[in-house]
């Protein structure tokens, strides 16, 4: 059988329902559920006839419509024995339709804007090399400055190092300092990875201090630790309350 009919494609069950309601020219706040439910199901049958896969959302909506339809048929409870508000079984669906309709309409407006602004061209940034001065702009520097600079450091160092033997010197860092350092890392970014804390050549002492600082920060609830799966990288995040 040749297919001459073009089946309109709907974005979802709500889209289809809106279409049926508009076609039937009925009030969205007072949907004739029985009529609309029948048309809706008829449309799903049509989709099946054309071998179109009917997405599960459409089927769920069909069931919802049938449920509302049957609840509408139930006798209404007498006013005096229902202190609960007399709830329209359609209410929830109507709210969803209205909400969806707002965004659907806005999306057509977006589409119009897109049609204009996608016709606009931007230029690539100019190659910046031509604007960056070469290293000659650093010519204020002299060899003397270089040697003097190192000599000053070494002088300071020789005082500092007198007592220590030849080993790599590192300031003893306290847990409080480490806690502060970690908190500061989190002021410039929302999170970092656990292993960022342990760079290549960190001393055993600093590893222990860092770990204790982390535990302390968790205890006072200023950070938050996360790991998606075991053996994945551990995330350390700022805690936002």
């Amino acid at each position: 059988m040749p297919l001459n009919i073009k089946l309109q494609v709907f974005e979802g069950p709500l889209d289809l329902l809106l279409h049926l309601i508009e076609k039937a020219e009925v009030d969205i706040y007072d949907i004739p559920i029985a009529e609309i439910a029948d048309q809706y199901i008829e449309y799903l049958h049509m989709m099946q006839q054309f071998d179109l896969e009917v997405a599960s959302e459409f089927l769920v909506m069909a069931a919802t419509l049938l449920e509302i339809k049957s609840r509408m048929l139930l006798p209404k409870p007498k006013k005096e024995d229902s202190n609960a508000e007399e709830l329209d079984p359609r209410e929830e669906l109507i709210q969803k339709l209205i909400e969806y309709k707002k965004y659907k309409e806005f999306s057509t407006l977006l589409k119009d804007k897109l049609n204009i602004y996608e016709k606009v061209f931007y230029k690539l940034p100019e190659p910046i090399e031509s604007y960056i001065p070469d290293y000659t702009s650093l010519t204020g520097l002299t060899l003397d400055m270089l040697t003097q600079s190192l000599e000053t450091i070494l002088q300071k160092n020789s005082k500092r190092k007198k007592s220590s033997v030849r080993e790599i010197y590192r300031d003893a860092i306290t847990i409080e300092e480490k806690m502060l350092a970690i908190s500061q890392m989190l002021t410039s970014r929302p999170f970092f990875y656990f292993d960022d804390l342990f760079e290549d050549d960190i001393s055993k002492y600093e590893i222990i201090v860092t770990f204790m600082a982390l535990l302390e920060l968790i205890k006072i609830q200023s950070i938050h630790i996360e790991q998606e799966n075991s053996f994945e990288r551990i995330l350390i995040k700022r805690r936002i309350d």
């Binding site: 069950p13 209205i98 969806y100 707002k102 589409k111 204009i116 931007y122 690539l124």
Partner: protein, 175 residues
């Protein structure tokens, strides 16, 4: 520096940058306070529009950028190879509308409003850099939350999210 010279410098800065330049940068480079820079750029915008110049200045989140006019599209396309059109599907446009108004929003919330799964629209919008993953929401499952990008504003000619028109409230007569 007189105002003509300032305008001339701003023009050259925007030209060189190509990209959007934040008002803070302009203010810093020129050594002029931000409100004054803003006033001058606004004058320039009007001037470009009134004179029907080849470029216009657009404003996105307090940054300024040159771009061409939509009406010259046809000529520019003849000169440069046509840019790939954004070509957004109805589903993507709907999803984008929802993110624009309800951001930050999770996938489940989008699905719930549309009444249908939005995974593929979301990945398309991410890919086109119209929305971005803005982190995870606290709470069960810690779902990803989405927000719109500056690219979104640019592509739809909006200065900032606050410029989105209020959504129509529907009265019974309108429906």
């Amino acid at each position: 520096m007189d105002i003509k010279e300032i305008k001339s410098i701003i023009e050259s800065l925007l030209y060189v940058a190509g990209d959007a330049v934040h008002i803070k940068e302009l203010s810093g480079v020129l050594g002029i306070d931000e409100p004054t820079v803003k006033r001058i750029v606004n004058q320039m915008m009007d001037y470009y529009n009134d004179e029907g110049r080849g470029m216009q200045i657009i404003e996105v989140n307090n940054s300024y950028q040159f771009c061409t006019r939509p009406e010259h599209y046809e000529y520019i396309e003849r000169l440069v190879k046509p840019q790939t059109r954004q070509g957004l599907s109805q589903a993507s446009l709907e999803t984008l509308s929802i993110v624009a108004y309800k951001q930050p929003i999770t996938r489940v919330q989008i699905d719930s409003i549309r009444g249908v799964k939005s995974d593929s629209s979301i990945s398309r919008l991410l890919e086109k850099e119209l929305i971005f993953e803005a982190g995870r929401q606290d709470g069960p499952g810690r779902p990803m939350i989405y927000c719109t990008t500056d690219n979104f504003l640019k592509l739809f000619g909006l200065k900032s999210i606050s410029e989105l028109p209020p959504l129509k409230e529907f009265t019974e007569e309108q429906l």
